[in-house]
């Protein structure tokens, strides 16, 4: 079998890349090692608004949307609540099983071939360059020739490693467990809740992503340690009256790389996209939008490179330039905020929450961010200076 482009992994990045490459005239094969595209999810399922996706030319159908998000509700270690609420939707809760399939269907409609339960077991090389992929499909092994491989095989990517890309930043990850729960009453069904504190989730936070109809993704992420994320989550749920009696209808587990993008996302005949490329916001853990955006760029660049007969690293570098222009500033900002949050003690988080409690935070930061700082300066001069230095990038 011979293809122009083989995409490994049918998540949002892989399916978007496959669709766009096929639309640009390439002969595309999309591989998914699981028996089902979109499951099991490793995701809180929040994504930006449909308008944001429309800017990328992706029209999201209503069947994949579960709920509307209008803001965030933060709880400090000692329970001080800070709400950040907009008067319009700022995002949507997706049903990933449906969303991922919807993207794969679009790839199929564009002409990409798809194989599920098909695992890439090795890269084939000729003269030191990638010339194909060895595949195991329903237990049968065979080789396919290809000009470009797009690595969309997620956090556990083997392709990126086999191709020699340095994926060290992916190893800086949080350890997460989430229960999709049913039969639970939320304070506000359109706000995402975050809970901070070294007792709740050391090195991370707990979350409640409301999916509507009295269901939510309740989870937490921590830095690994003696106590597992699973144990912390059970403790968290037990401590919440509104969650305690809910039913667990799904268990979702995974690693979220928060170390930023990998050093290099292209090499000869290879492009890395999505989680494989480290395109995850280090604070929110969000990666769906970046995955679709970068998948689209990858598909376009790969198809053009094939047409031009030049699939070298130099040619594919256009992908790296374009994704950097689109999301690098954001990822770097996320890295800075992450390192600030990580270094804040429970007392400091409480002090910050006290300053923001009961305020119209969205307006405050838009119109008068200095008052936040002045208030904080009065309460905790040490913390104010620390935050100022950290956020301005003086301290790493």
């Amino acid at each position: 079998m011979e293809f122009d482009i083989v995409v490994v992994g049918a998540g949002p990045a892989g399916s978007s890349a496959a669709r766009v490459a096929a639309q640009n005239g390439a002969k595309v094969l999309l591989l998914e090692k699981r028996q089902e595209i979109g499951a099991p999810k490793r995701c809180g399922e929040a994504a930006p608004t449909t308008e944001e996706f429309e800017k990328l030319g992706v029209k999201i159908i209503s069947q994949v949307i579960r709920n509307e998000i209008r803001g965030y509700s933060f709880y400090s270690p000692k329970g001080i609540n800070v709400k950040v609420v907009w008067d319009h939707p700022v995002g949507y809760m997706l049903e990933r099983k449906m969303f991922d399939k919807f993207l794969a269907i679009q790839a199929a409609q564009a002409g990409a071939q798809i194989m599920v339960k098909a695992r890439a077991i090795n890269l084939l090389k000729g003269n030191g360059k990638i010339v194909g992929v060895k595949i195991n499909h329903f237990g049968e092994e065979f080789d396919v020739d290809t000009k470009i491989v797009i690595a969309a095989d997620g956090v556990e990517s083997k392709i990126a490693r086999w191709a020699g890309l340095n994926s060290k930043s992916l190893r800086d990850a949080t350890s997460n467990v989430q229960f999709e729960m049913a039969g639970i009453e939320l304070r506000d069904p359109n706000l995402i809740e975050f809970y901070f504190g070294s007792k709740v989730a050391p090195g991370g936070y707990a979350w409640i992503f409301p999916k509507g109809d009295y269901t939510a993704n309740v989870g937490l992420g921590i830095r690994g340690g003696q106590t597992t994320a699973f144990q912390y989550l059970k403790k968290f749920i037990e401590s919440k009256e509104n969650l305690r009696n809910g039913a667990i209808i799904e268990v979702n587990v995974g690693a979220t790389p928060i170390g930023g993008p990998i050093e290099k996302t292209v090499s000869d005949n290879l492009i890395a996209v999505g989680d494989t490329a480290g395109h995850i916001n280090p604070v929110t853990g969000g990666g769906i939008y970046n995955a679709v955006l970068c998948g689209i760029i990858a598909g376009e660049v790969a198809a053009k490179a094939v047409q031009e007969g030049d699939t070298s690293e130099t040619r594919l570098f256009e992908y790296e330039e374009r994704w950097k222009k689109a999301i690098l500033t954001n990822l770097e900002k996320g890295l800075r905020i992450k390192s600030v949050l990580e270094k804040m003690s429970d007392e400091e988080l409480d002090a910050l929450a006290e300053v923001l409690e009961g305020k119209d935070v969205v307006r405050l930061f838009r119109e008068d961010p200095m008052t936040v700082f002045i208030e904080l300066m009065k309460r905790s001069p040490k913390l104010s200076i620390k935050l100022l230095l950290d956020l301005s990038g003086f301290r790493k």
Binding site: E156, S175, A255
Partner: protein, 61 residues
């Protein structure tokens, strides 16, 4: 050598993500360990969100 409790493992691939030597692979519903590459560092065991990986140092080469 590491021991993976397959009843507890949710095959999320987190251990594969953090493994510094590339000794682990998520096949589909199980994790395969390459004992040639594994150096018993224990990072996967400390990371596993479910606590499904135990490090057995007595059997180390």
């Amino acid at each position: 050598m590491i021991q993976i409790n397959r009843e507890l493992c949710t095959y999320c691939g987190g251990c594969v993500c953090v493994c510094p030597t590339g000794a682990l692979e998520l096949i589909e519903t199980y994790v395969e360990v390459d004992n040639e590459k594994c150096n018993n560092c224990g990072i996967c065991s400390g990371f596993c969100p479910m606590g499904a990986i135990k490090l057995d140092r007595t059997e180390a080469k």
